[in-house]
């Protein structure tokens, strides 16, 4: 009898232990949308890039401080005139089928990326001036440009396409887009469309074996079910709203409760003004519009005190951010004085007019962020008290983007995510107005243009910092858009995950990112 009990106990323990172990080696993550493609060059959405970050290494990766470190390439060396870059690949870099990653892959990737006809829509900006890429030998490739650019090395934060795998057929519609060849710590195991993607360890990977054997991504579009899943352990991480974050913090310390991880993002939210519109032409009006918004109260109440006031076109996490630039204060009286000064007087109905021009406009909003909507509603009320009439118009994303690209929006609310090496020209140079670029505010300041042009070829960091400081100051003075806040990003992470590190570009898009996560069996729920 006793022996039987012992055996039973042992079996039970083993079973629990086994369950624990299998729990140990699986990480479950959430995607808020279904990836459309796993082609690293064509991928644009967050969901796609999150998955690809585990499948593909870049030539050079960003580490958590956003410095470029070797990835697939041991080294990327620029010539003294900054026109020729030599890439030396790792000897042991291999695709998941065992074939080596070679310079032919580099050449293929660049040719594909920069083919004017290929729909590789987003990665091209840093390759402006590209002439050719050639394979010097199996491990070395040379890339030639016609012009020198300060951010050129960041262009090599680039994943590769296997020349062999993607040969034959159009890149845009290639079947490989749903079954890519991996060279990173994981490879694609299975894809249950619309539901889950399962990644398994890539045995051909040159680097350290990742701790979790499997990573299962699940598509959960709605936040409420996702949070219920996080709490029950069905998923191990998700982005949190401030309310959810407070909830988890209140329960902190209890067993099995997910913990909160935060980081400062390279982004800010803003209200865009179309400077071509007569009502927005005068910078006093734009400044007044900024000063009518109590951004501190917003930060305190809507962001739980976890947002920094934006003071200009660079967020605090950026190395060149000028902390000494004071944001415009919340001062409704001064704002109204500015509006009076600019010629907009309050009429008997409370609305301000300058002659026959009414201070009235429509602010468009893409669907999505709750906080953005709340801020816009708050702003509408503050503006109404000051005699400014703002109509809110939520637009479906497609229509919103179409109008933005065509430069047809009067005013809009949006957030801007910057890349680690942001080229400010894209948003603020007068040559980058729609349809050429993203300067949807139609901002024109020749001094800023000159600074931005000079920055393109400024290679020294200190010199660049000085130029950027001047550009920030000028843009701040002009206030072409109302810079709002940079919120702290909150992430809920299961208590059984360790070594979760953050960076200004999030938890995943740097090296090692999620590939460095480890799991522990002791603190996770078994269910």
């Amino acid at each position: 009898m006793k022996k039987l009990a012992l055996v039973a106990a042992a079996v039970l323990l083993c079973a629990c232990g086994m369950r624990g172990k299998s729990q140990d080696s699986v990480v479950r993550r959430r995607l808020d949308g279904e990836p459309k493609t796993l082609n690293p060059i064509l991928a644009t959405s967050d969901a796609e890039q999150i998955v690809l970050a585990l499948l593909e290494r870049n030539l050079l990766d960003y580490d958590e401080k956003l410095d470029l470190v070797p990835g697939l390439a041991e080294e990327v060396e620029g010539s003294p005139d900054h026109l020729v870059y030599t890439i030396r690949l790792r000897k042991d870099a291999r695709w998941e089928d065992g074939t080596p990653v070679t310079s032919l892959d580099v050449v293929f990737t660049l040719t594909t990326l920069l083919d004017p006809k290929a729909p590789a829509l987003t990665r091209r900006a840093l390759f402006d001036g590209f002439v050719k890429a050639e394979a010097v030998d199996a491990r070395t490739a040379r890339v030639v440009f016609t012009s020198a650019a300060a951010g050129r090395r960041d262009a090599f934060n680039l994943p590769l396409l296997s020349a062999a795998a993607w040969a034959g057929g159009d890149v845009a519609t290639h079947p490989r887009n749903r079954n890519p060849l991996a060279n990173g710590p994981y490879r694609l195991g299975s894809w249950e469309a619309g539901r889950t993607l399962t990644l398994v360890r890539n045995t051909q990977y040159f680097g350290e074996k990742p701790a979790p054997e499997q990573v299962i991504f699940r598509v959960v579009p709605e936040n409420a079910p996702a949070f219920a899943a996080l709490e029950s352990g069905a998923i191990d991480e998700m982005r949190l709203s401030f309310a959810r974050m407070k909830e988890l913090e209140a329960k902190a310390g209890m067993p099995g409760v997910p913990r909160v991880v935060t980081f400062d993002e390279l982004a800010y939210s803003y209200l865009g003004w179309n400077n071509r519109l007569p009502v927005f032409a005068d910078r006093r009006v734009r400044r007044a519009l900024t000063m009518l918004i109590d951004r501190e109260s917003i930060g305190r109440n809507l962001y739980g005190g976890l947002a920094k006031l934006a003071n200009g076109p660079l967020p605090p996490a950026h190395w060149a951010w000028d902390a000494s630039l004071a944001p415009w204060p919340y001062d409704p009286k001064a704002a109204e004085a500015l509006l009076d000064e600019a010629g907009f007087r309050k009429g008997p109905d409370g609305l301000r007019r300058k002659g026959s021009l009414r201070l009235s406009f429509t602010l468009s909003l893409g669907m999505g962020s709750d906080i953005q909507r709340q801020i816009v509603e708050l702003t509408q009320l503050s503006y109404r008290k000051a005699g400014v009439e703002m109509a809110i118009q939520p637009l479906e994303w497609a229509a919103f983007m179409a109008k933005m690209d065509a430069g047809e929006l009067e005013a809009w609310a949006a957030a801007l995510n910057l890349d680690p090496y942001p080229d400010l020209s894209v948003s603020w140079h007068s040559a980058q107005v729609p349809p050429n670029g993203s300067n949807a505010a139609f901002y024109r300041n020749p001094d800023v243009d000159a600074l931005l042009d000079r920055l393109k070829t400024t290679f020294g960091r200190e010199e660049a910092r000085a130029l950027l400081a001047r550009a920030q100051a000028l843009i701040h003075e002009d206030e072409p858009v109302t810079f709002l806040n940079t919120p702290l990003i909150r992430w809920g992470v299961s208590s059984r995950l360790t070594n979760v590190r953050t960076s200004p570009i999030g938890l995943f898009m740097f090296w090692p990112g999620a590939a460095g996560w480890r799991t522990s069996a002791t603190t996770g729920p078994i269910s």
Binding site: T44, P119, T173, R178, R218, V219, A234, D405
Partner: protein
Amino acid sequence: MLRFALRRAASAVLTLLGVLALVFGLVSAAPGDAASLAARAGGNRAVPVSPEALAAFRHLYGLDRPVSERFVTWGWRALRLDFGLSLVDGQPVAARVARALPTTLTLNLAALFLACLVGVPLGVATARRPGGRLDRISGFVCDALFSTPTFVLGLVLLLVFSGWLRVAPLFADAETGLSGFMLPVVTLTLASLALVARFVRVCVAAALADPAARAGRARGEGPPAEIRRALRRSSAPFAAMGAALVPSVVSGSILVERVFSLPGAGGLLAESVFARDLPTVLALTLLSAAIVVAASLGADLVTAALDPRAARADDALPGIAP
């Protein structure tokens, strides 16, 4: 009868063409461009998109040709069952639809089946004793169910049974199998139950009040025979009801799909319209419209077969709630 059937069939084909043309026109003309949308899938990133890339994208998918030409080309290809490539991911539309369809069909057909399973007997029982307790209670409950927005119902059920009580799985996938469909099916069933029960009730009540039924009762027919006769006489309007419920089979469950994270055809359709992915929208529309038209045609033929007079008229039963 044959002439009637042929006329109906011709009308069905015309309807289908009309639907497709309308959808094609609407989605093509709506502001928003698939190419720039694809570029911004990740949100408002400060990256410029080169005009050549956009032009290349458009050329690749034939978006730079006039609308009428595109419609005709699409039509020809569709006849050969070639639905083209999706603008969103470049994969064959047929594959995308085939992936999404089983989920939606499972969901809707299961819900319909359960709704009939419960609704038909309920309707019959309440029709036989109008004004009785069962009738009053069932009327109340059905109206209550119908009045609740489905997404609220679904969300509440999800949070109570999956989130709090943990008796139902949160997601439906290979691991949870069919049990993952439990809550969504229940949600949809509750929503359709009211419709079915009420409809059955009205039809059967009308049939029972019919002179023929009274004659039958006078002849000494018992309840079972009465019911059977009533059901038979109601089969024409039943067919009409079936046809009326069909439009929701393909895309009607979109709210429930979204709440329960089910990658179905409803969500695919919504997403495709938002992304201006015309090929996918057209394929789904064709499917949905074809089902509706076929069901409607079937209902008309059944009605005409059972009641030759109906072959000349075309009405809905008065007083039936939509």
